[in-house]
């Protein structure tokens, strides 16, 4: 009785970019692996799947990263595009263990955007940079026709120095290591969605948008030999864990009941049909550390506001390499995948 029907064209073979390609999930990775890297050729031999590239520079190591910010709306509960643009890049540097030094700021502005709006964004960037302890040293401004750029797009690039005794990269995850989460998940994505046109819902929830470098500095001071750091952005907790597991070819298992999720995030995800583990964050991170280091690292995190809820959620395993498994509150288990494409467009 089965009805026949044609094979749907796989998304990879589409000849146009879709919103899903910007989701930070599997499709974004495909674009990188199957389009950019082959095209860049030998020039991309130093490219890295981690947040920052770490490059030798004399006897120093320089961390270098860039990100674009296209969040819509520009202002959302707990933050705005300017803060995101500063903190996001500062955090990518911090995830390499680097002390962020300087950022560039490039603006693509939509013709017709109010100068007052741009002023507020710039003000926020200055304040964010001061809070994070970085300089905004160079930049660029372009204007495009009305109807493009949704107000504005911002791209920041950042550099920082990596201390000598620090070696932080996914491959350092070792079976037995503890997986630490710095705080409650899902806040940024939920806050942005709550003011997204067509989906508006009422909530007091604010984005977790924040600089992580201060806390990372304290963590490194407590235990210089941290193995892996990763901030959770698009794709949420799931993407963060999956990327580490796949890159390092180790397994990660965690206990869902230990992951702090604000009730408002649970509720919003409930009626939107989203998985909190897939929802974006902007000031929350993972740390993977040797088991003996976990307590000291947690103590360092708890001394910071943004790390006050830091907790061990799981460990690195030899079994199931490349796979992230979660133990459910009922005692069952499920594989945690990254979101496939674009669950929440224009979230960062």
């Amino acid at each position: 009785m089965a009805e026949g029907w044609t094979c749907p064209v796989p998304l990879r073979d589409h000849d146009r970019i879709t919103i899903a390609h910007g989701g930070g999930g599997l499709l974004t990775d495909e674009l990188i692996t199957h389009l950019f890297l082959p095209a860049f050729g030998a020039a991309a031999s130093g490219a890295t799947p981690t947040d920052s590239a770490v490059l030798p520079f004399g006897d120093q190591r320089v961390a270098f990263t860039t990100d674009s910010y296209v969040v819509r709306p520009l202002f959302f509960p707990g933050g705005n595009i300017g803060e995101l643009a500063v903190y996001g890049t500062v955090n990518d540097l911090a995830m390499a263990g680097a002390e962020p030094m300087a950022l560039s700021t490039a603006f693509v502005l939509e013709e017709g955007v109010e100068v007052e709006v741009l002023g507020r964004v710039a003000q926020a960037m200055g304040e964010a940079a001061a809070l994070a302890g970085v300089q905004l040293v160079t930049g660029d401004t372009k204007v495009v026709d009305a109807g493009l750029a949704d107000g504005m797009y911002i791209t920041t690039a950042g550099v920082g120095l990596v201390p000598k005794d620090v070696d932080i990269r996914p491959e350092r995850a070792t079976p037995g290591d503890k997986v630490i989460l710095s705080g409650p998940i899902g806040r940024h994505g939920t806050a942005v969605l709550s003011v997204r046109e067509g989906l508006e819902f009422g909530t007091d929830l604010q984005s977790d948008c924040a600089p992580l470098n201060g806390m990372v500095h304290a963590m490194l001071a407590a235990r210089p030999d941290l193995h892996v750091l990763r901030d959770l952005t698009r794709g949420g907790l799931a993407s963060g864990l999956c990327t580490i597991a796949e890159t390092a070819q180790i397994g990660i298992r965690y206990t869902e009941a230990t992951v702090p999720i604000p009730p408002e995030v649970q509720a919003a995800c409930g009626f939107l049909g989203l998985d909190p583990a897939h929802v974006a964050n902007e000031g929350t991170m993972l740390a993977i550390v040797a088991p003996d280091d976990a307590d000291a690292v947690l103590e360092a995190m708890h001394a910071h506001d943004i790390g006050s809820h830091a907790v061990v959620i799981g460990e690195v395993t030899e079994q199931n390499p490349g796979v992230v498994v979660a133990r459910t509150p009922l005692g069952g288990h499920r594989i945690v995948d990254r979101p496939l494409g674009e669950q929440l467009p224009r979230i960062c």
């Binding site: 939920t190 709550s194 819902f201 009422g202 909530t203 007091d204 929830l205 604000p262 009730p263 408002e264 649970q266 509720a267 919003a268 409930g270 009626f271």
Partner: protein
């Protein structure tokens, strides 16, 4: 139209199909519409039933837990 609290997030939804609903009631909501008012007595009865199953289990259970 009314405001529903989903446990910390609020959303405007339509009550046309639950004319008997009043403030404080729990409802099941799909696609922006409440489709029923939750029967709180029945909810408690279900939970009580589950507890009872547990009591029956331990009554008939011969082995030490």
């Amino acid at each position: 139209m009314a405001t529903a609290d989903f446990g910390g997030v609020t959303k405007t939804i339509c009550l046309v199909y639950v004319p008997e609903a009043s403030i404080g009631d729990y409802t099941i909501i799909h696609a922006g519409f409440a489709i029923t008012v939750l029967d709180e007595e029945a909810a408690q009865a279900s939970l009580d039933l589950f507890e009872e199953i547990g009591i029956l289990e331990s009554d008939t259970d011969q082995a030490t837990p």
